[in-house]
């Protein structure tokens, strides 16, 4: 079967997308979800188990506490309260409560990412917000999952909130009264807390609320600014201590009247690292303090309670029980048993049963083989025992037996809860190695196939043979297919944990296996071919050794260096720096080459270049190898491009000389437009300056100017009607901007960028650079298709970062998905967002297409330069292929070369990165740094596939016409 190399590359990339998707599915575990999350009201609470039918407890138990105050202190790590350095010294009242008062203290372990919003979600829903949730919930900031707050509101509780406005965003319309403070001004650590505390006196006096939530930000701000060892921490802790005392005394005095206990929860959302930040997974960041204070938790004197280690998610279940609400459906936490210890045994068992039922239901819905789980078996057993106990109890058998059985049931339940909760949370943290492996194998096979077929695909014909149907290969194919299927069956039947790939239907899995084996066969055949060619190559040693020019070396080294740099987390965070650096270097190298051409052509004019001319005329394209340039020296270039540099005189020559510098300056400007990355992201940049409200005039002028320049730059190629249409379109763009921003509303609505208007200059400069490059660099210098493709790829990547993107999910401009849409529609919004994010690479790729097709149309001279078989990547390979190729090739072959190169350059980093992530999956930063990058890479492959398909389509139409 013969395929054009473009088609071949497109197929490869599409297969690669499949592989990457499979890998991603295995790498990002699906979040644990309960299917019945929306209709939780309709669902009756599980009745108490009983052996007979006389149990009358079918309703939810009444609330344990009348009022609940949650005092959340941002960044309250465990030793701020329990440690002797801070806690004892600065929080005397809290320490007193912890050591002697009616309280239970815990060290709650937060899960990654240790950032405020996921932590709030975890505490209120009891689920573990997986990484994929961040992506899924980009569209709506409000929390739709089942959670304690929503339940409380549904139950008619009045909730008051003061503090971080993240809560207000997460739970809009949930609070009867709220005052959100923004956490934007990190250097302010007094005002944010005063904003919360000032309401306190008034609210505590009033009795018209059931839940009060306070979120203090000051401590975290101090940590960010000056670290945990700063003296300010002590002051802040003392302040918090006094607030706690105030709340506690007020609650106590109220209890004296009503005689129903209240609950005061002091907790932290995440810890604080030694440097003062958070987000990663050091012990200091994970361990937070959690203290439950209530007069219900009486204790005998001398009863010393050490803070136990629990999970942060346990709080949700505990709060739900405490407030008499159903436990949130997705909660993986188990009830903090000490809180109900003071209740009668029957109630205790009831609470435990409710929690266990909820967890086992979650397990049933998420793990197909749930009956085999030890936790589930334990639960079933304890439920049976519980029934027995109830029977005994209802028979009013008040003996020792009842007590002992009760204790046993309780122990059983606690054990079951622990196991269930553990296996559920492990479900979230587990990698699905098998799916990952299958995905990786697919991606790698594609890469190897691409690499091996490179010499053939980049030859003049741009076609290659895929010998899939020969008998040997069909035999091999069936063999491999059988082996793989057997392997699949073995793996799937023996796997203990759930596995996505096993969950697929057998037909799909079989299809994937067939694909893998087919790829393997293709790889083997390509390998055999390469070996055969190599033997041929050795037979005729007359072939001169090829030498690479500096530019080729630079391009190869740059690609390799970029791939290597993906191994370090900070290089991923600052990947834009790598690209800027590479692009700058590329520009300088181009500049060097340009200057060499210009000046040396002047010098060497007298030398005759007959030899080269012969080479040009002679039919042997191997002579085009670059070593001839070197030996016969520079005039070669001149002869090669007789139309370009020699004829350029005066003004144009100056333009040529100046263009690299203009491009460099543009890059520098763009770079300062959007600061991205992590380390320097806080630096002020031009983008912020422009979007800030006092520079609206400048922004409008700039936008108008940019639109005008776009028009000027693009209009040269268009016909009159399209010119008019485009002018109208651009005018429309400006009006749109004006409508949403300049005139009517402020730029910032809901404190979220409606769009990035300051990114218009990026587009302009990109077009400018493209024009310059085309006119003054690529045309005169005559690079081959491979080099041009890689340069385009580099520029595309650099522009991806110039747009203000980074390898961080937070920089995705979601608002682009809402342009022109009234309501949220998933498909168009996702498409628009993807397009807006990857506009840079897409723009450059389309420019590549237009450049190459215009170049091929321009006549044989240009064609030859583009179709020279001595392309960058064919330099090492066999001359045999290039000799057999006819010199006048088809029109579209440059395009298919480009497509092939593009596919290769994209798939190389992706494959390398996938292997890297697999090996680094236990790295500290895997969730914070590597995973977002992985998502971006996956998306990039998808975009690349689309581009390659587009290339191929263009190629086909070109060949036809």
């Amino acid at each position: 079967m013969r395929l054009g190399s473009g088609t071949f590359a497109a197929c490869c990339v599409v297969i690669q997308v499949l592989g990457v998707a499979l890998f991603l599915r295995g790498f990002f575990p699906a979040p644990i979800r309960s299917s019945s999350r929306t209709e939780h009201q309709a669902e009756p609470p599980a009745p108490e188990p009983s052996a007979g039918d006389r149990s009358n407890w079918t309703k939810l138990p009444p609330p344990l506490f009348r009022k609940v105050v949650i005092m959340l202190i941002d960044g309250l790590r465990d030793d701020f309260v329990f440690g002797c350095v801070w806690g004892v010294k600065f929080m005397p009242y809290t320490t007193y409560l912890v050591e002697k008062g009616a309280s239970h203290s815990f060290v709650a372990e937060a899960k990654l990412p240790t950032v405020t919003m996921p932590r709030i979600k975890a505490m209120m829903t009891g689920s573990l917000p997986g990484f994929i949730d961040v992506v899924r919930n980009l569209n709506s900031p409000a929390l739709v999952e089942d959670n304690v707050i929503t339940q409380a509101k549904a139950a008619g509780k009045r909730i008051i909130f003061y503090g971080d406005e993240t809560w207000v965003k997460l739970f809009p319309k949930h609070f009867v009264e709220y005052d959100g403070t923004t956490s934007f001004f990190v250097s302010d650590y007094t005002e944010v807390d005063n904003n919360v505390t000032r309401h306190l006196d008034k609210v505590l006096k009033r009795g018209d609320w059931d839940v009060l939530i306070l979120h203090y930000l000051g401590l975290d701000h101090i940590g960010h600014v000056s670290g945990p060892s700063s003296p300010l921490i002590g002051h802040k802790l003392r302040e918090m201590d006094s607030v706690l005392m105030k709340i506690h005394t007020s609650l106590l005095s109220e209890e004296r009247d009503t005689l129903v206990p209240n609950l005061l929860v002091l907790c932290g959302d995440h810890g604080m690292s030694e440097a003062g930040g958070h987000g990663a997974s050091s012990m200091e960041e994970l361990n937070t303090a959690l203290i439950l204070i209530s007069s219900a938790f009486e204790r005998k004197p001398g009863d010393i309670r050490r803070p136990k280690h629990v999970q942060q998610t346990d709080l949700a279940a505990t709060l739900a029980i405490g407030l008499g609400l159903p436990i949130p459906g997705n909660s993986v936490g188990s009830l903090l048993f000490p809180t109900v210890e003071g209740r009668p045994v029957r109630e205790q068992l009831r609470f435990l049963h409710l929690n266990a039922v909820q967890l086992s239901k979650l397990l049933q819905e998420n793990v197909p083989s749930y009956t085999k789980e030890p936790g589930f078996e334990q639960f079933k057993m304890s439920e049976r025992l519980h029934g027995n106990w109830i029977r005994l109890y209802l028979e009013e058998n008040n003996s020792e037996v009842l007590f002992n059985l009760g204790a046993k049931v309780r122990r059983q339940y606690l054990e079951a809860l622990r196991t269930l909760s553990l296996s559920l949370s492990r479900q979230v943290a587990q990698y699905d190695i098998y799916s990952m492996l299958v995905g990786t194998v697919m991606v790698l096979e594609v890469l190897v196939l691409l690499l091996l077929s490179m010499p053939q695909a980049l030859s003049n014909k741009a076609e290659l043979e895929v010998p899939l149907w020969s008998p040997v290969f069909s035999l091999l194919f069936y063999l491999v297919f059988l082996v793989l299927s057997a392997l699949h069956v073995i793996v799937c039947t023996s796997a203990e944990s759930s596995c996505y790939f096993c969950g697929l239907s057998w037909l799909t899995a079989g299809g994937v296996m067939a694909l893998i084996s087919a790829l393997l066969c293709a790889v083997v055949s390509a390998l055999a071919k390469v070996f055969a060619d190599g033997r041929l190559l050795r037979k005729n040693p007359a072939h001169p050794k090829a030498r690479w020019s500096e530019l080729d070396v630079l391009i190869l080294l740059g690609t390799l260096g970029h791939v290597l740099s993906l191994g370090a987390s900070s290089f991923i965070e600052e990947e834009h720096q790598t690209w800027y650096f590479l692009v700058n270097t590329l520009c300088l190298a181009l500049c060097h080459e340009l200057y060499k051409n210009c000046f040396l052509s002047d010098d060497c004019e007298p030398q005759p270049c007959s030899h080269v001319e012969q080479g040009l005329v002679s039919s042997e394209p191997a002579l085009w190898d670059r070593n001839i340039h070197c030996n016969v020296s520079k005039p070669h270039r001149v002869s090669k491009s007789p139309t370009s540099l020699d004829t350029l005189r005066g003004y144009e020559k100056w333009m040529v000389l100046a263009s690299p510098w203009v491009i460099l300056t543009c890059c520098r400007l763009l770079r300062s437009l959007n600061q991205t990355g992590v380390q320097w992201a806080h630096r002020p940049d031009l983008g912020h300056w422009l979007t800030s409200s006092d520079h609206k005039a400048e922004l409008s002028v700039l936008a108008a100017l940019s639109l005008f320049v776009i028009f000027v730059l693009v209009q040269r190629r268009c016909s009159l009607t399209s010119k008019v249409a485009m002018a109208l379109g651009l005018l429309g763009v400006y009006c749109y901007r004006a409508a949403i921003g300049n005139v009517l509303f402020p730029w910032q609505r809901d404190s979220k960028d409606i769009s990035k208007p300051h990114n218009l200059p990026v587009l302009v400069l990109s077009l400018l650079i493209q024009t310059l490059m085309t006119k003054f660099i690529w045309k005169p210098l005559r690079h081959d298709a491979a080099e041009i493709t890689i340069m385009h790829y580099w520029f595309g990547q650099a522009f991806f970062y110039f747009q203000g993107n980074s390898n961080n999910i937070a920089t995705v401009d979601v608002s682009a998905g809402f342009v022109g849409l009234d309501t949220y529609m998933e498909v168009p919004a996702a498409f628009l967002t993807a397009f807006a994010t990857f506009a840079g690479p897409v723009l450059w790729a389309s420019h590549l297409v237009s450049f190459l097709s215009s170049e091929t149309r321009r006549g044989p001279a240009a064609k030859r330069s583009l179709h020279r078989p001595e392309g960058l990547l064919t330099r090492w390979p066999c001359p045999v292929l290039s000799q057999e190729a006819p010199s006048g090739s088809t029109c579209g072959s440059a395009l298919s070369h480009a497509c092939f190169c593009y596919a290769l350059t994209c798939s190389f980093p992706v494959s390398a990165y996938i292997i890297l992530v697999t090996s680094l999956r236990h790295h500290l930063f895997i969730w914070s740094v590597f995973s977002p990058k992985l998502l971006y890479e996956g998306m990039h492959v998808l975009i690349t596939a689309a581009i390659c398909v587009f290339f191929t389509a263009m190629d086909q139409t070109n060949t036809k016409s």
């Binding site: 740099s565 370090a568 900070s570 290089f571 965070e573 600052e574 720096q577 790598t578 800027y580 650096f581 700058n584 270097t585 300088l588 060499k596 000046f599 040396l600 010098d603 070197c630 020296s633 520079k634 460099l664 300056t665 890059c667 520098r668 770079r671 300062s672 990355g677 992590v678 380390q679």
Partner: protein, 190 residues
């Protein structure tokens, strides 16, 4: 002839390295609290001064190309002035390139400029010493196969390797190890 040349070459390079090492150690006797990391600005100054001085002295002593036959005073002065101008120009040129590479435009101007000066002492000054203010000769040396003597060869190698060293030196900057030497120009200088 060639052997003596190689020997002299070796000596000159040893002297250069020695001068760099000296520039690290000598100032600590005169200046208090001098260390490369903290007062890197002073060190950059001193280092470039040392290297320039050593290069000039070496040039005067060794005189690899005894080509200056016409040695009238005015010619020498003009030549010297030209050299100075070239040196300054190269400093500014490097500065511009650094800024284009992403060095901050306004803050840290002094650092950037001093770094440019240092780089040009390592690259431009030897070139000036050997080839004089003569663009043709420069182009000849730095284009392929244009080297005529072993001196020029060594010059080509040192210059290009110092450029590449600087280029590579920029890589560790984004790493967040938070070491003191990750401040802007230092790693590139090494």
């Amino acid at each position: 002839m060639k052997d003596t040349d190689i020997k002299r070459l070796l000596y000159t390079h040893l002297l250069c390295i020695f001068s760099i090492i000296l520039s690290i150690f000598i100032p600590s006797f005169f200046l208090e609290n001098f260390s490369i990391l903290e007062t890197h600005l002073t060190w950059l100054c001193i280092c470039s001064v040392f290297v320039t001085a050593v290069n000039l002295v070496l040039y005067l002593v060794v005189k690899p190309n005894a080509s200056s036959k016409r040695s009238s005073l005015s010619y020498k002065v003009v030549r010297f002035l030209k050299c100075c101008i070239y040196f300054l120009m190269s400093c500014f040129f490097f500065h511009v390139i650094f800024v284009l590479y992403g060095a901050p435009l306004i803050e840290l101007v002094l650092e950037t400029f001093l770094f440019a000066v240092t780089l040009s002492t390592f690259t431009t000054v030897p070139c000036l010493c050997l080839l004089g203010p003569n663009i043709k000769a420069w182009l000849r040396v730095f284009s392929r196969n244009g080297v005529t003597s072993i001196w020029e060869n060594s010059l080509q190698i040192t210059t290009i390797s110092s450029f590449i060293g600087t280029w590579l030196g920029a890589f560790p900057i984004p790493l967040d190890w938070e070491r003191p030497w990750q401040v802007w120009p230092i790693s590139c200088t090494l």
